[in-house]
């Protein structure tokens, strides 16, 4: 791997982005459930830790600080579980996290664009701090003591006094410092060789910390401590106390905890490790977490988290241009394979046995097929990433607009080409925003009055039909008032008042640039750019946008994008001297028929009955003005083709056979004649060097435009 700064930065950006995505997912799920499971907390903690670490590595100071603070916050939550957070503050916590994600994303974007990072994180840090304080406040007793205990235990190892006694006073007994002083005095009666912690125990200023965390006595011998314990034990205001042995803290902690669970229970200490050396090295003083009422399963938790971490994805990131190169080479291989196995030279040597050649050719074909499948699948990514982002948009907009809506996602596992995913990400966002802003009714009462669920619903679905990807965004909101749209279109001079428009045409006005039904420009809409962007982006990947809407019931936007698979299976058919390729996935059946099978309608159209249904017949030679070889119906063959919209029978001269073809775009010069609309999407070079035109089955029948020759 190249070790230059760029690749490190690239890795950082990639990693950080995916972590933020992960974080987003967790938070959205958590918000739904209105709590964070311990697993989530662990995960977030880990993510924060990684974010912090990598930001520190890249020397992105503000990012590091921020991640560090959140990490602190989640450290607390991890220790205390979500119950530490008061119910009212949960939304605040979620919002904080979302803001954090947004801020981080914006900063990452800045880094990507080479802009300087903003250092303005004080505001953020202070918000986080208040949240931390709140948790501490609400849960002061529990968690700060915990921290303090940990830190205090360090000072347990006062040199020469390895045997400590941690004493906790009754809650709310008051004047803690004085009471502590009394205890110290009493203990002094039986032994004098000990130190206290804090040292000036009668000082009023230490009272709160004693109240919270108790105080400690450090003894030099076990006997001293035992005596002291006997004195302390019967005292009324001592809630609890425990012996901490810094020599053998690890072994003893557990027994201590068990023994000390009940208050005022006679303490009989059986020291397992006798003091041999008084000054033990500090490494032995494992943090004795010794609060009896909180026997936390710390090790278990650690286990949990490591388990989660072990599921490592075996993924690498590859530059897209390399994949494109690979695809191009694979395309060439497929053509060349066909050229070799169908070489005209082979036809000249008839009579010669070609068994071995044929065997190898079959093997080659199989391998190229496999190679092609794999290389195609490399570019495929599931749409779930894009779809999940919409959850966030629905949530944010719902909060801001005061609408309740849920997003239902269907078919998020659908895999589509990376370029398509990128191209539809913005359009989907615009449509979802439109649905939230215009679709879902502003008032729940309106929804109830219309007999709908008070909570709005937006359904986002993806489907791969084999030849195209269909993305649907439906909402059950108010729908589009077509009269209002038409009126607006006329006002803006987009529509002609004298023309009667169909509903579909009216909806198409929505996609015109500058058209907005909003009278005011708001944060979310009103500039009339959204749907225009949708159309442009989708058309850029040669897709179409279809809008349907029923006033009062909701609306549905469908994006149909053809799969730009560079290689496909095609059926070669001939009409006269021309060869055409029909995509295999569009073909349902091919069959022979006679004139008697054909039914004529009043418009001189022809139909044929298949499986109890009538399908129109399209004679390709008539459509394209070719001279057919098969003049009579029975000489040619029908190919029953089907798309998501149409189904009809195509009449051609002859089937030449199935072949894998590499789609080449038509020269741009020809596109000026609207050849795409007349049903030709591209062309391909056949094994013998000839060119075959690839038919677009849905455009072939739906359009009667194009450049008429006759």
């Amino acid at each position: 791997m190249a070790n230059n700064g760029d690749s490190v930065l690239e890795m950082y950006l990639y990693e950080t982005n995916s972590l933020l995505g992960q974080l987003d997912d967790i938070m959205l799920a958590a918000e739904q459930a209105d709590t964070l499971s311990q697993e989530d907390v662990n995960e977030i903690f880990r993510i924060m830790h990684t974010l912090k670490g990598s930001a520190a590595m890249m020397e992105f100071e503000p990012l590091m600080t921020l991640a560090h603070r959140i990490e602190d916050l989640f450290y607390l939550i991890r220790e205390e579980t979500m119950s530490a957070i008061p119910e009212d503050d949960k939304p605040k916590l979620f919002n904080l996290l979302f803001k954090f994600i947004d801020y981080f994303r914006a900063q990452i974007e800045n880094i990507e664009l080479g802009k300087p990072l903003s250092n303005d994180i004080d505001n953020f840090v202070s918000i986080i701090n208040t949240v931390i304080d709140k948790i501490n406040g609400a849960d002061a007793e529990k968690d700060e003591s915990k921290q303090e205990a940990a830190s205090a235990s360090q000072s347990n190892a006062v040199n020469g006094y390895p045997y400590s006694l941690n004493i906790y006073l009754d809650e709310g007994c008051g004047m803690e410092n004085l009471r502590a002083f009394m205890i110290v005095n009493d203990v002094k009666q039986c032994c004098s060789d000990f130190v206290t912690e804090p040292e000036d125990i009668d000082d009023t200023s230490v009272a709160p910390s004693i109240a919270k965390d108790g105080f400690k006595l450090h003894f030099s011998t076990v006997a001293d401590r035992e005596n002291a314990a006997k004195i302390i034990e019967p005292m009324g205001f001592v809630r609890n106390f425990e012996e901490v042995d810094n020599l053998s803290a690890a072994q003893n902690t557990e027994t201590n905890q068990v023994e000390q669970t009940v208050n005022n229970e006679p303490v009989v200490k059986k020291e397992q490790a006798q003091p041999e050396v008084k000054e033990k090295p500090k490494e032995t003083k494992q943090a004795p977490i010794v609060r009896a009422e909180k026997p936390k399963a710390q090790p278990a938790k650690e286990n949990n988290s490591t388990q989660g971490h072990q599921i490592k994805q075996s993924l690498i990131s590859v530059n897209l241009s390399k994949l494109d190169q690979l695809m191009a080479v694979v395309g060439e291989i497929v053509i060349t394979e066909a050229m070799v196995t169908a070489s005209p030279d082979l036809k000249g040597i008839e009579g010669v046995k070609l068994d071995n050649f044929n065997k190898s050719a079959r093997q080659l074909r199989k391998l190229t097929d496999e190679l092609q499948d794999i290389s195609m699948s490399l570019r495929m990514v599931p749409v779930s990433g894009t779809f999940q982002k919409m959850r966030r948009i629905v949530r944010d907009m719902g909060q801001k607009l005061g609408k309740r809506a849920r997003l239902t996602i269907v078919g998020e596992d659908t895999e589509i080409d990376k370029t398509i995913v990128d191209a539809i990400s913005d359009p989907i966002m615009h449509i979802v925003r439109n649905s939230m802003d215009h679709g879902i009714e502003p008032d729940e009462k309106m929804r109830i009055a219309a007999g709908k669920n008070p909570e709005g619903e937006i359904i986002l679905s993806a489907q791969n039909t084999g030849s195209e990807v269909i993305i649907k965004i439906e909402d059950d909101g108010g729908g589009v008032d077509s009269d209002a749209v038409l009126a607006k279109a006329i006002r803006q001079g987009l529509a002609n008042p004298d023309v009667e428009y169909s509903k579909r045409e009216i909806l198409n006005f929505l996609m015109m640039p500058g058209f907005s039904t909003n009278t005011e420009v708001t944060e979310f809409s009103g500039r009339g750019v959204g749907m225009d962007v949708v159309k442009k982006n989708v058309e850029a990947v040669s897709g179409v946008v279809i809008m349907t809407s029923e006033f009062g019931k909701g609306s549905c936007t469908t994006l149909k994008i053809p799969l730009t698979t560079a290689i496909m299976d095609g059926m070669e058919v001939s009409v006269g001297d021309s060869i055409f390729t029909i995509p295999i996935q569009n073909i349902r059946q091919s069959f022979k028929a006679t004139d008697e099978d054909i039914i004529h309608d009043a418009m001189k159209g022809e139909m044929i009955c298949k499986m109890d249904n009538f399908y129109p017949v399209l004679r390709l030679h008539e459509r394209y003005g070719l001279m057919p070889r098969a003049e009579k119906t029975e000489d040619g063959i029908f190919v029953w083709v089907e798309t998501s919209e149409d189904s009809y029978c195509l009449f051609v001269d002859e089937l030449l056979g199935e072949q894998q073809v590499v789609i080449k775009p038509l020269p741009s010069y020809l596109n000026t004649f609207g050849i795409k609309e007349s049903g030709i999407v591209g062309c391909t070079i056949l094994g013998d060097g000839n060119i075959s035109l690839i038919l677009d089955v849905s455009n072939l029948i739906s359009s009667d435009s194009g450049y008429a020759m006759f």
Partner: protein, 161 residues
């Protein structure tokens, strides 16, 4: 020798020298001439990629008849324009194709025969009289050897619809 002289030449002399060079470089332009029917056309040699023969075009439906189809030029798909039909002259079976590249659009032009590449002084190219302005012709000039008149083909105009 001349370079050595230049080292000591006055600025005035340099200016004259440079001017001479310029004149020589820019006064003429190379044209590829070809015949279609009885007309002699010239295309700027710069935009000509190659001249090919013996290519059979694949018919493309739903386009004007002057588009003969597409050809496979070493893996590249190139549309083929029939010069005769574009000029509304009776089509003829010819197989001489000039592949040109105009503004990144690569296209083949089917002509009767390619003649030669010649240098034409720019100032001899005259505008086409307005009244009988030929289609797709941006200028005309008499051939240096007086063998006829060359019509300068305006390729962008030829490709525009």
């Amino acid at each position: 020798m001349s370079d050595e002289n230049l080292m000591f030449a006055t600025e005035e002399q340099q200016a004259i020298y440079n001017k001479q060079q310029e004149v020589e470089e820019f006064a003429t332009r190379k044209y590829l001439t070809f015949r279609t029917d009885n007309l002699l056309f010239g295309i700027e040699a710069e935009i000509v990629m190659e001249i090919i023969t013996n290519y059979s075009a694949t018919y493309v439906p739903m386009v004007p008849s002057y588009v003969r189809g597409i050809i496979n030029l070493r893996g590249q798909i190139i549309p083929l324009l029939d010069m005769r039909q574009k000029l509304s002259i009776e089509p003829m079976d010819t197989d001489c194709i000039i592949v040109i590249d105009v503004e990144d659009i690569r296209i083949g032009i089917l002509v009767d025969a390619v003649s030669q590449i010649i240098d034409i002084p720019i100032d001899t190219i005259l505008p086409v009289p307005q009244h009988n302005a030929q289609k797709y012709v941006s200028g005309m000039c008499t051939m240096p050897d007086n063998s006829g008149t060359m019509l300068v083909l305006d390729c962008p105009l030829l490709l525009a619809n």
